[in-house]
Symmetry: C2
Subunit: 330 residues, 2 copies
């Protein structure tokens, strides 16, 4: 495993690590500074020292609150008055609904009709106006653009947006500032917002740190894109990692990932279930399937980890209790 910076792809000019720093100041006191958890049992299993950044304990249950809050905070006053619109497979929806509530900004959330019931209910509970769509038949981006045009709402996409990427990078910034330099950072990969932001933070604060994205085996568009050098689109993948059912990387996230990330790994749904059980049984936390992607790579020895200091971002905890019960007894 070689360390970066890679020089074969140029780093885009925005966002930069300075934008991550600015985002951190903007969200301070609004986003939780989530705890870093450790476990000797996890370390023994991985043969490494693992630092789990518990974004499942973030407001609205996932890291998405960081980017959502930052993006809304950056809007000019007239745009704030008109409001925002977001499309999301779940956690971005709740994040926009909650971050908008805290900043008193109207918000419309476009969610897939088959999103977990808990996520739809939580989004409504945060005061968001919810519009459902069929993700196997309709184009959520088209719906978002239409609402944006009709009502003057500002579209805040779930990952492919500079302010969103910068906000997501604050989790890795906090992690490294708290525990010191890392050898490896493992980050789940859906559309790439968290991975791109994390890579910006990691390469600035811990330049020798190798950064890996981890996605579900069934939806390895990120791995294909990274290895081929251009964005690959796939059909909606069937995986329990509902937050990583994205079908292609963003035009803003992909270039950052190409420039700063070391490789993309994949894990099976069985590994995700095993990791969920591990977190419940040994670490007493609830991590949703997508949130287990990075951890599953470490717990299953998918990279040369021996003796390394490894940061693992647990991206979220929004799993329906009945679904969790099913995973625990599977």
């Amino acid at each position: 495993m070689s360390t970066s910076l890679r020089t074969d792809y140029p780093l885009p000019t925005a966002p930069t690590y300075e934008d991550v720093v600015a985002a951190a100041q903007r969200i301070e006191g609004f986003a939780h500074r989530t705890p870093v958890l450790t476990s000797r049992t996890a370390d023994a299993r991985a043969g490494a020292t693992l630092f789990f950044k518990a974004e499942n304990l973030q407001r609205a249950g996932a890291f998405k609150f960081r980017g959502a809050y930052n993006a809304i905070a950056r809007l000019p006053e007239d745009a704030r008055k008109r409001g925002v619109v977001a499309f999301s497979s779940g956690n971005h929806a709740q994040a926009i609904a909650y971050a908008g509530q805290l900043q008193n900004v109207p918000r419309v959330i476009i969610m897939p009709h088959d999103a977990p019931a808990m996520k739809i209910a939580a989004t409504k509970a945060y005061g968001g106006e919810v519009v459902l769509f069929d993700r196997y038949k309709e184009d959520r981006e088209e719906i978002g653009r239409r609402l944006s045009a009709d009502r003057g709402l500002t579209l805040i996409p779930p990952y492919d947006h500079e302010d969103v990427i910068a906000g997501q990078g604050t989790a890795a910034k906090e992690l490294i500032e708290e525990v010191g330099p890392l050898d490896i950072l493992l980050v789940c990969l859906g559309g790439g917002g968290l991975l791109a932001g994390s890579a910006l933070a990691a390469k600035a604060l811990s330049p020798q740190c190798c950064v890996f994205g981890v996605e579900p085996e069934a939806g390895n568009d990120g791995q294909q894109s990274f290895r081929s050098g251009s964005v690959v689109r796939i059909p909606v993948p069937t995986t329990i990692a509902d937050g990583a059912q994205t079908t292609y990387l963003g035009s803003r996230t992909f270039p950052i990932i190409q420039a700063l990330v070391d490789d993309i790994l994949t894990v099976s749904d069985a590994m995700l279930i095993d990791a969920m059980r591990f977190f419940v049984e040994r670490m007493k936390i609830v991590v949703e399937p997508t949130g287990c992607l990075a951890a599953a790579a470490a717990l299953n020895g998918l990279l040369p980890a021996q003796g390394k200091r490894i940061g693992v971002i647990l991206s979220g905890g929004n799993v329906d209790p009945r679904a969790l019960a099913g995973f625990l007894t599977a």
Copy 2:
């Protein structure tokens, strides 16, 4: 609700808050400084500002590690070489096994034969020698005394011990030092070690703070004892709060509780299940039934909480995943 100090019962001379301070220094770097979690949803439900001290994220999954580590650390060298023996319904067992492992002290753990399988397995995994007994027929203290006499082991009881009480008080100390003075502190009550230690810390650091113990309805020996002024013994209660199936308060814990605690409340098993689901669904943490006692009192409005700053100790998270699944789908 009146504030203390109560003057109708004298405070015992040991342990004191100074012993809690000494214990805190002794366990520093060995016990986790667990995070304090907050939730707007919980606050809205309680009509108060709640600060959850997450001892479910403590080493070995419960606050018990604090007292166990402190008690073992206080042993003279010859006693450390011979080893320790402990009897426990579960979490104290794991705590002694783990704390003894870290301090390289031999340890024998006497556990009820019907303790959760996960707790027995975890105790063995920490290198403890496990002896099982039938808690409906045999006297665990008698077994402990016999092993102690036969093998020269030092008996470390689960709660009725000065060093254990002082160690348990460090959780409330950390909580108040982190969030500032409290109006109310809610603590689960089994044998009284955590409640006594917490009261010592709370009354020293936040003298206006009212301290309440919370126990299962089915096992309200503590409430009966507190209100009658002398220790009341009850049969082994039937409750899902297996860590609070104690049948009487200790001779060392009861006088501290009499002197410093404001009242003892009780909650139903149904409230514990509801709280467990709340923690999974909204706060993304696993709290065992006993660990939900204090929270259930706050979430169900069992005390005049409106607008108050309330500390809630979540005592542990050691619940079998299959049992948790059952509670989530009940």
